[in-house]
């Protein structure tokens, strides 16, 4: 049984989960769900997909906790790996990716911005909204490095572990993704002028 959840390692939590310890599973879920949910949301731009992916990731953990091997990487990398596959599958099922011109009903904006006072923070909100759409418009290979390295602030080595590629690949994809985003920003500024 789980005694001190905060000090228990992920490996131990998953071992206890395998043995049917509900508390251990709940502790593991609460520890990691935020990161998985944000990653899925930032990758898909849709709350429904993000929630579905989060649920599915932990369903996988629940049904096959023995698949996690601490020697092969951290629990975070393991969870991001599952989430990444699920998000990409969801995106394949829907449109390949959103474009800046998509989301005509402002679905994302209204859901995510909520009841904020837009009048007082209109410039900042518009900028964030523009960036969100620009990130979602990136091809998945570039989007995931931006989400992992810039939005989640993961280091290159950890991102490479999640993506299953070399650190150099992460670095070059991130460089290219940032260039694409800056290009979009400049184009928008030119249009505004």
């Amino acid at each position: 049984m789980l005694d001190s959840p905060s000090h228990t390692s992920d490996d131990e939590l998953l071992r206890l989960t395998r043995a049917g310890d509900e508390k251990a599973f709940l502790t593991f879920y609460r520890k990691h769900q935020g990161a998985v949910f944000r990653f899925a949301l930032q990758m898909s731009g849709k709350l429904e997909i993000a929630e579905e992916v989060t649920q599915d990731v932990f369903m996988v953990v629940m049904s096959t906790p023995q698949k996690f091997d601490p020697k092969r990487g951290s629990a975070n990398a393991y969870l991001y790996g599952i989430a990444r596959n699920l998000v990409l599958r969801s995106l394949d099922k829907e449109r390949p990716y959103l474009t800046v011109l998509d989301d005509p009903d402002g679905e994302l904006h209204s859901k995510l911005a909520g009841e904020q006072d837009l009048a007082s923070e209109v410039a900042q909100t518009e900028r964030i909204e523009f960036l969100r759409k620009a990130v979602l418009a990136l091809p998945p290979a570039y989007r995931e490095v931006v989400v992992l390295c810039d939005l989640t602030e993961m280091d290159y080595a950890a991102a490479a572990e999640v993506l299953g590629c070399a650190i150099g690949t992460v670095r070059s994809r991130l460089h290219r993704a940032r260039a694409l985003l800056m290009e979009k920003m400049r184009a928008t500024e030119r249009c505004a002028v």
């Binding site: 049917g20 509900e22 599973f25 709940l26 879920y29 609460r30 769900q33 935020g34 998985v36 949910f37 944000r38 949301l41 930032q42 709350l47 993000a50 929630e51 989060t54 649920q55 932990f58 369903m59 629940m62 049904s63 995510l112 911005a113 900042q124 900028r127 964030i128 960036l131 969100r132 990130v135 931006v146 810039d150 939005l151 989640t152 602030e153 940032r178 985003l181 800056m182 920003m185 400049r186």
Partner: protein, 178 residues
């Protein structure tokens, strides 16, 4: 990092902090319910296995017990005639000796096959692979009825004889002790 790039990264950080931080509590409830259902299923499966294993073990024990009882009955039935045969003559010094003598013993004693009179009915039986010798006491007239060449005497004359049994329990031959 250029000025534009720094500005972009700052904007992305602002975007990250503007996003919802957590999944809804509905997911936690769903996962918890699923976890409990799975645990319950697993508990049932374990108990089911225990019950099935217990049933199989009980059946095995009953089967072994019945086999042992039947085997004991068969053994008792094969010894019985000899015991009856020897129990009647208490004056005999070797009455308490085992009446069943192993075939090996019989074979070792000066070509025992030659010392047995073959029974006429034994001709139609398959050859004996393993044999057992049973000592009995019987009227001399019975030996004549078996077709063996013994002279006339009163039916009350009892003689001791060894009967050679095959693996099927059927008599193959007989020899007189007295």
């Amino acid at each position: 990092m250029s000025e534009n790039e720094r500005e972009l990264v700052e904007g992305l950080r602002a975007l990250a902090s503007a996003e919802p931080r957590e999944a809804s509590s509905r997911i936690e409830k769903t996962l918890l319910a699923t976890f409990r259902a799975r645990a319950e299923r697993r508990r049932r499966a374990v108990w089911g296995s225990v019950v099935v294993a217990g049933g199989i073990a009980a059946m095995l024990i009953v089967f072994l017990w019945v086999s042992a009882v039947q085997s004991a009955k068969r053994q008792a039935a094969s010894v019985h005639p000899a015991v009856v045969a020897t129990a009647g003559d208490a004056s005999e010094p070797d009455a308490s000796e085992p009446a069943v003598v192993s075939a090996q013993y019989a074979l070792d004693s000066d070509d025992p096959a030659a010392s047995f009179y073959p029974l006429p009915e034994a001709d139609g039986l398959p050859p004996a692979e393993t044999t057992m010798v049973v000592r009995v006491e019987m009227p001399l007239s019975s030996l004549r009825l078996m077709g063996l060449p013994f002279g006339e005497s009163s039916g009350a004359d009892l003689v001791q004889a060894d009967v050679l049994l095959g693996q099927d329990g059927l008599a193959r031959g007989v020899r007189l002790i007295q």
